[in-house]
Symmetry: C2
Subunit: 247 residues, 2 copies
Amino acid sequence: MFNAKEETKKIIEFIKKYFVDNKLKGAVVGISGGKDSAVVTALMTKALGKENVIGVTMPCESKENDRKDAQLVAKKYDIELINVDLTDTYYTFKKQFSNITKETTNADINIKPRLRMSTLYYVASIFSNIKKGTYIVAGTSNRSEAYVGYFTKGGDSVCDIKPLINLTVSEVIKIGEVLEVPEKVLYKAPSDGLSNKTDEEKLGVSYKDIEKYLNNEKLSQDTKERIEKLHKNSLHKFIIPEYKRCA
Amino acid sequence: MFNAKEETKKIIEFIKKYFVDNKLKGAVVGISGGKDSAVVTALMTKALGKENVIGVTMPCESKENDRKDAQLVAKKYDIELINVDLTDTYYTFKKQFSNITKETTNADINIKPRLRMSTLYYVASIFSNIKKGTYIVAGTSNRSEAYVGYFTKGGDSVCDIKPLINLTVSEVIKIGEVLEVPEKVLYKAPSDGLSNKTDEEKLGVSYKDIEKYLNNEKLSQDTKERIEKLHKNSLHKFIIPEYKRCA
């Protein structure tokens, strides 16, 4: 049985211990307006104190409503929120490729998470200088997303601590309830904010079914195969082939 | 005993097999003008055919000579070489932070490898579209660099295949000799092209000594401790702490 109160307490202890053991000062969280980053913001604030957590919004052709929800999260936990607009950077980057091809629709989608990762590390580095102590980047991926490879290699998967990576979507929501994450954010349909689709529409499978799969509960053969295919097709994001010396 | 000819043959077989097994079409290599990317370019060309390898130069306030050396490598192995100038993107990116701080010297150094990683994946994605088959990003890190953490998390360490990761600097050079990498490139003092220092000046230890360490050869206590400290201080780049559920 998942005891959300107990797990919440333990995650906060885990974060505290890692920061103390490694003499770290603070954390940077990219706040998207979705539940995962809200829960991570809450956990970091409880573990480190609100003065040691920096939230970052990184709009890039994004929905204005998502930024408002991010502001709601920052306000709720009373942390500093920095806005870094990546739109100009994104278009400047893309312009360099205009002589190679015009067709970049599929290629485009992963640039933003990579620019966001670069931004979070840059903010962490700047604040490490200003505050005279090391700031690290907090990851927000959860177990359900990770299992089906729903993340960008070199993007949102690059981070320094993973508080939610072994918790399914429904477990993250329960943790969020304990931490009183604003309901509007906690129960919003998950979306990457990159396409105009929800995660579940893109994946072709529901988080409820992924969770059933992870818990060995009964599922239709079709759904099972769909999840296994997503997992298999994303293994290359986890396992990078290395040549081993023959002698 | 390291048999460079035999290892070269085996690396080429390893690359071929991975591409065939995973139905991949081609590889993208960021060519810096240094030995590692030159050796990887040679290996990929032998394994996949020159028509399936794309070289990319990504100057960003870089030395013009490095680009010339990259052109020499591309010419030698007769592959297509694309130039993506990242200077404008870099300055556009930095401009977004001008209201936070002026002091960004330390923070700046890691942006370029992250923009380069984003570029290589973008090129891979564009060519996958154009050529109707999957292109992946070839990594160029070697064992000596990796051991002392001499790479950027979320930057040059993000890739899809690692042909050199278990070979020391001198072994990479021997492979390069077999593959007839231009001497000017192969024997150049390694430098990241980011600072004005060579790698060895930055690390405070020579690759020769790192290699002795890795081979359990005799070293002064000071040098040994320096290498162990570099290794220990970079472990956070390899091991990301994850909260494990308590029940």
